[in-house]
């Protein structure tokens, strides 16, 4: 069914009887061409593009719980393509372009809102690094804008310009960056995939892989064995847990990242602001809540909750940047599990097992990557070759020494 303003009016006048399920709840079939493990944003997007753009059929998405219940349902909703390195920037720029047309593509209003993202600069060395980054963005066809303190003051007069421990010396802005209504991304892709015949199987947990002489034949699940031509793991956050069932060790650790939302407030913060002298970034949802976060807790964890030290660290930085926040109330804190990779960049690649593919290692940047990740993973599954903007996301880059280390932190996942 097609959504539109007219449709809303018609239904309103007829008691909303006509709305149909956004996606079906079919029974699993015995065999699919493609089985995608993980009903999160990336998995659902992969299924959608596989069906819509690559015309593939017999596709299933297996979700152990309810779709969109992982990181796509627990993040700070930011989209941007302000990356430095060649291995990353083209990929994220393609993602941003896909976001820009997503709602029309899906006929679903995910509230893609390009109100801009600003990374603040507090030192000369930081400026040099951001200039290099901004230039890299432009050279890759993205937009970047170096803002002066005056320009920032005009836009965000409520930042601490007068009494800051680390004065604001400028900022790198990407005006095409912004936020998206995160749950709606999962639902929109689910609805789109479903309408192209993809089976979305909720409460269907993968308990094992069936591998026969080096070839993956399918998966054992809580709803029985499901055969597959190609099995595509897409469970960032739980990658370690899942791939262990295929006896794979990964260059990934699972860490908890907390995020926070305040009580609803009348509009104060137009875009996304990122503090450069501490761990804090913030935006405001259309509903009015300030959505903010900071650093990961820093220890391996599969528990979707964090602890006080990071909560305090984030709010200290928030108060240092926006002293007016003192009287806003923090409403809710939650934790998501991040696939923290060894260089801070993701992996979209075939595994050593025939027919088994892997997509993960998104660290805490997975949400903004959703469309491109889906497109590139679908490309790899459909053609057997990596998409041209995702050629660097290989397993073997660590063995061969081609790390994609934006932060330059080295092989320590909790520092990325």
């Amino acid at each position: 069914m097609r959504y539109s303003g007219l449709r809303v009016i018609k239904e309103a006048l007829t008691g909303h009887k006509g709305w149909t399920p956004a996606w079906r709840d079919p029974e699993p079939q015995a065999q699919y061409d493609y089985v995608i493990i993980g009903g999160g944003g990336h998995g659902l997007a992969t299924a959608y593009y596989l069906a819509k753009h690559f015309g593939k059929k017999r596709i299933a998405v297996l979700e152990k719980g309810w779709i969109g219940g992982g990181n796509v349902g627990r993040n700070t909703t930011i989209i941007r393509s302000n990356y430095l390195l060649d291995g990353n920037e083209p990929f994220y720029e393609m993602s941003l372009k896909l976001w820009e047309g997503l709602e029309q593509e899906l006929n679903y209003n995910a509230m893609v809102s390009q109100r801009g993202i600003l990374n603040l600069i507090h030192s000369d060395a930081q400026r040099d690094a951001f200039v290099r980054r901004g230039n890299a963005m432009i050279l890759n066809g993205a937009d970047a804008d170096l803002l002066s303190v005056t320009q920032i003051r005009d836009r965000y007069p409520f930042l601490d310009f007068n009494n800051a421990r680390f004065p604001i010396k400028g900022g790198l802005a990407q005006h095409r960056g912004g936020t998206v209504r995160h749950d709606a991304v999962a639902w929109g892709y689910a609805r789109g995939a479903d309408s192209h015949g993809v089976d979305i199987l909720q409460n269907c947990e993968v308990t094992g892989f069936r591998v026969e002489n080096g070839v993956c034949k399918g998966v054992e699940t809580s709803r029985g064995f499901i055969g597959a031509g190609k099995v595509a793991a897409c469970v960032a956050g739980s990658s370690g847990r899942l791939m262990a069932k295929a006896e794979m060790r990964l260059p990934i650790e699972s860490h908890v990242l907390q995020a926070f939302v305040s009580e609803g407030l009348k509009p104060v913060i137009p875009g996304v602001i990122t503090f450069g002298a501490g761990h804090f970034y913030c935006s405001q949802s259309d509903k009015g809540g300030l959505v903010f976060g900071g650093d990961i807790d820093g220890y391996n964890s599969y528990a979707q909750r964090g602890n006080l030290p990071v909560v305090e660290d984030v709010c200290e930085s928030g108060m240092a940047l926006i002293p007016a926040l003192g009287r806003a109330r923090l409403l809710r804190m939650w934790g998501g599990i991040m696939d923290m990779s060894m260089d801070g960049s993701p992996i979209i690649d075939a595994t050593h097992i025939d027919g088994l593919y892997f997509n993960g290692g998104w660290c805490y940047g997975g949400f903004k990557a959703t469309p491109a990740s889906g497109m590139c993973y679908a490309h790899l599954l459909a053609t057997g070759k990596p998409h041209e903007v995702a050629t660097a996301y290989r397993f073997d880059r660590f063995r061969r020494g081609y790390m994609i280390d934006e932060k330059g932190m080295g092989a320590q996942p909790n520092l990325h």
Binding site: D128, V131, D145, A320
Partner: protein, 985 residues
């Protein structure tokens, strides 16, 4: 001004009146009032508007679970949006305003939404506003954003201060109702360290809201006696206005104490609130229960509230929402409200009980098997329409309706570590599951023990049990006689009939219809329901609304309520001011400041300072007449290269490395060799990470066979020390080596320039040979200065000049810089700051932070040969990976503008001439740039593909971000004195 709905009695001090205003109108109340009770006493039922439909709303509850009565408390910089009138303590001069309405609370233009509610059902926005795409940011979203949100933030700096603190106890008791107080008596008398915390400003919990007797005392009297005993015990800390907000790992609890929120402004130097981190060996949750409403058509009018809340207003605050009320209940507890109100002279029109066998408790009309099917009254309740047991309809006039659908144990904190509550059929509610947070147990109503007697009994018993766990003997208290009525309830969630809307989540305007629509569209998982309808996502997190939603979803799905399950309870229990989490780390005190030994002197010199990490360093020293920073910096550079200058370099990390295996140890952490370093000599060392990337560099001096002093970069001092302890303790535990940081212990100055020796000869005591032969380049030694002060001297150079670094104990740093300036006067010595330091190191092509950026290798830095293959050192093996050794690997080079008037931009990218300017043709980038007053040109260093073989080549340096595009020549990074004659002079 008379308080029309004020009754007799209550726990308020009528001896003193407090003036306050709501929406500009003046009212009076009494100490002990909340804003809500005072407004009710003044006959005000309308206190707010709902989020979406802007429906008129009054209080639903009498506590922190309130969804409706949210106000902007105070004004100006202290304005607090979304403050619950039900918990805001009244103080003289209190100023409150209603929010999310325009222009007035009584006449809210946005209430137009209510007319269009049919179009604004759950999730409607996902289905429209998509065309044309550009309109979203430009038109639709701005309108939506403006309409959304609740209260507003002043955006002025919060003038109040917040503290953080840490408490330790054997037993933390959360909630000071009957169970909490009984627990505190039990644990307190046993001598345990006890913290008793309650979010209310008065201890007692429901005992303050009920008319129950405890033994021969009234509830409040028993509370007073109990409190008196507890306060006499030094091992018990009683904390009112303290909300335990979260149960974190291993028994650590977060709590917020509202120290000053009940005052017009905090006292001088006192905090508004304190965030406590409580280390509790055991925690006993006595958080009571929260009443739940019943959904029926137009159940959201001001005057319609929970029956228990109505009772609380009458009993505790002597305020009734109206002179004539009715009660709607599905359980016995609702009838108590009728009894208590009547005893206070309030007319109870009827008790409407959904049960056909409702008991007759109150001496008023009882309508068994009846339901409320609709209500009327635009800004406040005036009539309720009933469907009687016999199917007939009837309308009752009343100004308020008390509703009781039963009570939900307050399980919030039991679920903070992802424990899930379990369903208890007897009370038709969720009770704590087995999987409680570390060290936590539960007593009283919080675990479904609803009678006062049971609360006292379980409170005392659980406290004793928790203490027994940690080896403290405690005896249960003798239980006073108390109310022990059983729970009598017939689950009833919503009234089926009627086409209108019946509210579940009153703040977010989620109705029964919305839940049904979500189900129809397959948003059936409880999490989908919540996210699609926003049920329970308001500031009250669904404390009064979630159960109703679950019940309806269960019915639609043909499942039981426990099968449907709950959403996840997450901290904080109630919203917390962000200031409390921030504490004192704000403004200039966000992070501690590190001052250099010469700070005081530099301030006297009028130095300009810059933040380098937490350090404050002199950036340059302006002289009278100098109008731009460049003038000062150029002068400082010329002075150093021309004669001599002095710079405080104390910020560099210094690590004392001792032990018989110290040299072996350094051989492992540095990529180059240190075993053969002679005593009295210094060597440059390059440290790699295990992945082969450069980690840090610096010079290390050998003071004795078994004693080295390592220097690290300012930025990496802490990481390098940690890394070295890792190598020492975890990789080679049998090496005899001891480490300790001495960064702060020494004031160290670089004295650089052709006259450096002559100057220092006047400082260093004469018995030490300063000649080039006696103390050559890279020499070091322990010496004395200024007549016997112990000091260290290193002949090392960052500037490329004849240079020394001289160190004395920090307390003498101020004296030494003054002495050096004095002694250097004849040579025209100047102090120089980090800018001049930076210029000179770029002129010499020395790598610093911008080059050691975490992605560069020794090869990139032009030090490939330094990585010894003859020994094992951290990073040596993986530094040989193919990707780090490609033929076109980046190499450090210098760049000079072809046109000397042009500026080299750090962060610019290098492109070959004639190739397209895009990422695909990127040749490298400039890391650092400066103006060299020696070369009279802007210069830069950076990394270039195959840089080593491209000397003399002309490239484009492009920086589209800063609109710069110039031609540069590739040169050696050593712009000045490449042979190094000067530093050996």
């Amino acid at each position: 001004m008379i308080q029309v709905n004020r009754l007799d009695g209550g726990q308020i001090n009528t001896g003193r009146t407090l003036d306050f205003t709501f929406d500009g109108k003046r009212y009076q109340g009494y100490p002990g009032d909340t804003l809500a009770s005072a407004l009710l006493a003044n006959g005000v039922r309308l206190m707010g508007r709902s989020f979406k439909y802007h429906r008129p709303r009054g209080v639903l509850t009498s506590g922190s679970e309130e969804p409706n009565a949210l106000v902007e408390l105070r004004s100006g910089a202290r304005q607090e949006p979304n403050t619950r009138a039900t918990t805001a303590e009244l103080f003289d001069g209190l100023e409150a305003n209603s929010q999310n309405r325009w222009p007035l609370l009584k006449f809210d233009a946005m209430a137009i939404n209510d007319r269009f509610s049919n179009f604004l059902t759950a999730g409607f926005y996902y289905k429209t506003f998509m065309w044309p795409a550009a309109f979203w940011e430009k038109l639709y979203e701005p309108i939506i954003r403006k309409a959304a949100g609740l209260g507003s933030l002043s955006l002025q700096e919060d003038p109040d201060q917040y503290d953080k603190g840490f408490l330790h106890c054997d037993l933390l008791i959360v909630g000071a109702g009957p169970s909490g107080l009984a627990a505190a008596l039990t644990a307190g008398r046993a001598g345990a360290r006890v913290i008793l915390a309650d979010e209310d400003f008065a201890f007692g919990g429901r005992l303050n809201a009920e008319t129950f007797a405890i033994g021969d005392d009234s509830g409040p009297d028993w509370v007073a006696t109990t409190l008196a005993e507890l306060q006499s015990l030094t091992n018990v800390r009683c904390m009112t206005r303290t909300t335990v907000i979260g149960a974190f790992d291993h028994g650590i609890q977060g709590a917020v104490e509202r120290v000053s929120d009940h005052l017009p402004t905090p006292a001088p130097d006192k905090p508004r609130q304190i965030l406590w981190r409580i280390y509790a060996r055991r925690t006993l949750l006595c958080a009571g229960a929260i009443e739940r409403p019943i959904a029926f058509e137009n159940n959201d009018r001001p005057g319609i509230m929970l029956a228990g809340a109505m009772r609380a207003y009458v009993n505790r605050w002597a305020a009734t929402p109206a002179q004539k009320v009715a009660i709607f209940t599905n359980n016995d507890d609702g009838h108590r409200t009728a009894v208590d109100l009547m005893s206070k002279g309030v007319t109870v029109a009827a008790v409407i009980d959904t049960r056909t066998d409702a008991p007759r408790v109150a001496d008023c009309e009882l309508l068994s098997g009846a339901q409320v099917v609709d209500t009327s009254g635009r800004l406040g309740l005036s009539f309720v329409k009933l469907r009687l047991a016999d199917g007939s309809e009837r309308t009752i006039e009343c100004g308020a309706l008390g509703v009781s659908g039963g009570w939900n144990p307050n399980v919030h904190l039991t679920c903070h570590q992802r424990g899930r509550p379990v369903w208890n059929e007897a009370i038709a509610a969720f009770v704590p599951g087995g999987d409680l947070p570390t060290g936590q147990s539960v007593a009283g109503a919080a675990r479904g023990e609803f009678s006062t007697h049971a609360a006292l009994r379980t409170g005392s018993k659980e406290a004793a049990a928790a203490l027994r766990d940690i080896g403290i003997k405690a005896r249960a208290i003798a239980l006073p006689k108390a109310e022990d009525a059983p729970v009598n309830l017939q689950p009833f969630w919503y009234v089926g009939e009627g086409k209108g809307r019946a509210w579940l989540d009153q703040q977010n305007d989620v109705t029964v219809k919305d839940v049904k629509l979500a189900h129809q569209e397959n948003f059936r998982s409880v999490e989908h329901l919540k996210r699609y309808t926003t049920l329970g996502m308001a500031t009250d997190q669904g404390k009064t609304s979630n159960m109703g939603g679950l019940a309806i979803m269960a019915e639609l799905a043909g499942k039981s309520i426990p099968e449907v399950g709950t959403t996840i309870f997450r901290p904080p229990y109630t919203p917390v001011a962000m200031g409390a989490f921030g504490g004192r780390s704000r403004g200039k005190h966000f992070h501690p400041v590190r001052e250099t030994p010469s700070h005081k002197w530099a301030v006297e010199q009028g130095a300009v300072f810059v933040e380098v990490g937490n350090w404050l360093r002199a950036q340059w020293f302006p002289r009278p007449g100098e109008t731009t920073w460049r003038e000062s910096v150029d002068r400082e550079v010329r002075a150093v290269r021309g004669s001599v200058g002095v710079c405080d370099v104390s910020t560099l990390g210094k690590i004392d490395v001792q032990g018989t295996d110290a040299a072996d140890f350094l051989n492992k952490v540095y990529s180059n060799g240190f075993a053969k370093l002679a005593i009295g000599r210094t060597r440059y060392g390059l440290m790699l990470r295990e992945d082969g990337i450069a980690m840090d560099d610096g010079t290390t001096a050998r003071l004795a066979e078994d004693h080295f002093v390592m220097t690290t970069t300012t930025a990496n001092a802490v990481n390098v020390y940690r890394h070295m302890e890792f190598v020492r303790q975890c990789l080679w535990p049998d090496l005899d080596v001891q480490l300790i940081s001495t960064t702060e212990a020494w004031a160290q100055y670089a004295v650089a320039g052709p006259s450096a020796r002559k100057l220092l000869q006047k400082i260093v005591d004469p018995e030490f040979d300063m000649s080039n032969e006696g103390f050559p380049f890279m020499a070091c030694g322990e010496i004395t200065v200024c007549g016997g002060l112990r000091a260290r001297l290193f002949r090392i150079s960052f500037s490329g000049e004849l240079a020394y670094e001289i160190a004395v104990p920090t307390r003498y740093g101020d004296a030494l810089i003054r002495r050096i300036m004095q002694a250097g006067e004849e040579f025209g010595v100047v102090p120089y700051g980090t800018e001049a330091l930076g210029v000179m190191r770029i002129e010499k092509g020395h790598a610093a932070g911008n080059e050691l950026n975490g992605t560069t290798t020794a090869l990139n830095l032009g030090m490939g040969r330094m990585v010894s293959k003859k020994k094992d050192s951290i990073g040596s093996t993986l530094s040989e990976r193919e990707g780090l050794n490609t033929d076109d690997a980046l190499a450090l080079v210098g760049v000079l503008p072809r046109n000397k008037t042009q500026k080299v931009t750090a962060g610019g990218h290098l492109m070959s001439l004639g190739t397209p300017v895009d990422a695909a043709h990127d040749q490298g980038y400039v890391t650092s740039a400066a103006y060299s007053p020696i070369l009279n040109s802007s210069i830069g260093i950076g990394f270039l593909r195959s840089g080593g073989n491209r000397m003399g080549e002309t490239l484009r340096l492009v920086s589209p971000l800063t609109d710069s595009d110039i031609e540069v020549e590739v040169v050696s990074a050593h712009f000045v004195d490449p042979e190094g004659d000067r530093l050996r002079a």
